[in-house]
């Protein structure tokens, strides 16, 4: 005769020591084992999408950049790409390369931030500090080239606002060599340390089929074997700088960590290739008139595919602006990852989708 364990409902978040942002999980547990989960967000929804009805479409780049403090540049870039698609604006080649470089620097600082948070979630404080120490060096490069550490303010409709000169490019590449060396040291710990592996290997498994059918994106889906990376669409300079999606097949927390670790070096490589090929020339074109039409623009943010829908009627204010963020697409995956885990694994598994609630509560 088998005894039936009583089921307890445990609310996890929206305020929790391991969560920097408000997400709530309704966890059904039997003893220490999670058997069911319902994720929810919506505690700080900002309604930014409706601001397009009041802001000039060119000024709105500033709002788009502020949707998120981590992938701010790529938010601004995706918005610009959508408007440029509607208005059929040809962005100068040098600007496309500069967007590529800043986009990959964004990915580097986002992934290093995430690695630190992951280390913090399983109590490896020195690893957390080393990850953020290296991230600081990326922020220094961003500050030196864009003027801001988090909000770049360098993307605009028709191109970019500032150039990176040859000296600054050389300095950046030199700094990246040192950063790459530092990253190799911490990546070795993340992927091979016994205690880290104990917390990540076989925890929170997401199958390839589930990752695809649940609409997952970015490292979350690639760690389950889905070859999907929006940089392959060829936006910015990615039509001339090829990108192969980095995948794993295990689908567990360790695989999601492993994908992001490998993407650190992939991003450094992309910056190097972009710096080597960047053409001379203008960095923006003059934009006149107002957009009229609709489009969906997609790019690859550090957390995965972001989709921007814009609709315009020829006035200076857009009719509709909608953002589907990568975290929004990855939330349903928690429904598959968490059942079967122990309660102590919940923070780690939640972090492995790299949830950005700031993006999601746009």
């Amino acid at each position: 005769m088998s005894a039936t364990l009583p089921r307890t409902i445990i609310p996890f978040g929206p305020q929790h020591p391991v969560l920097p942002e408000p997400i709530h999980l309704e966890l059904a547990v039997e003893d220490e084992k999670v058997v069911d989960v319902i994720p929810s967000v919506g505690f700080v929804h900002r309604g930014l999408e409706r601001l397009v009805e009041r802001k000039d479409y060119q000024e709105f780049v500033y709002v788009a950049e502020r949707i998120c403090g981590i992938c701010s540049f790529i938010h601004g870039q995706t918005y610009c790409q959508a408007v440029e698609a509607i208005m059929k604006i040809e962005v100068p080649p040098r600007a496309r390369y500069l967007r590529t470089i800043w986009g990959e620097l964004s990915r580097l600082h986002s992934h290093l931030l995430w690695l630190g948070l992951l280390a913090d979630s399983f109590g490896f404080e020195s690893l957390f500090m080393h990850s953020w120490r290296i991230r600081e060096k990326i922020l220094d490069i961003i500050e030196a080239t864009a003027g801001g550490r988090v909000i770049f303010g360098s993307c605009k409709i028709g191109g970019v606002r500032r150039d990176i000169g040859p000296d600054a490019l050389r300095t950046m590449l030199r700094q990246l060599e040192e950063i790459e060396r530092d990253m190799r040291e911490i990546v070795d710990v993340f992927l091979n340390d016994g205690t880290v592996k104990q917390r990540l290997v076989g925890v929170g498994i997401l199958s390839k089929q589930d990752a695809y059918s649940l609409g997952c994106v970015g490292p979350t889906s690639r760690a389950s074997g889905v070859r999907q990376d929006m940089r392959q669409l060829g936006y910015a300079a990615f039509d001339e700088i090829s990108v192969e999606p980095i995948t794993r097949t295990e689908g567990d927390s360790h695989a999601r960590c492993s994908v992001r670790c490998a993407e650190l070096f992939q991003s450094v490589d992309i910056v190097r290739r972009a710096a080597a090929k960047i053409p001379d020339g203008e960095i923006s074109v003059k934009v006149t008139g107002n957009p009229n039409g609709e489009t969906i623009a997609r790019t690859e943010q550090p957390r995965g595919e972001v989709a921007y829908y814009l609709k315009a009627n020829g006035s200076k204010n857009l009719q509709r602006f909608r953002v589907r963020t990568p975290t929004f697409a990855n939330l349903p995956a928690l429904v598959k990852m968490l059942p079967g885990c122990t309660l102590a694994d919940v923070p780690v598994v939640v972090l492995t989708i790299d949830p950005c609630i700031s993006c999601t509560e746009r």
Binding site: Q228, T295, R320, R322
Partner: protein, 118 residues
Amino acid sequence: MNEEQSFPLIPVETLLSRVRELRDQGWRLVQIGAAAIGPAIEVTYSFDRENRLSNLRVSLPAEGQPRLPSIASVYACSFLYENEMHDLFGIQVDGMAVDFKGKFYHTTVPFPFAARKT
């Protein structure tokens, strides 16, 4: 570089069968988004297969209680988008996999995106 795009309008009655057709052909659900445009609410369903985008659109009257069938029986992950459409636009989605009953977004104004104020 921009993707080739179109937004074909389909009757609401054919939505489920069209979505099921796409799922069977291996398309991934990218997003569901609503837009209040004049007297109508346009709901756009976007799908991806091998980095190609395909859209379907239904149009609902903004007046009264706009209704839609849920596509949760085809794409289980649709419940987030459907709850979002309910809470922001007031669209009643029938048959959602998880119904947050208006508590998905905690907004001070009910259905803040439904009416267009100037």
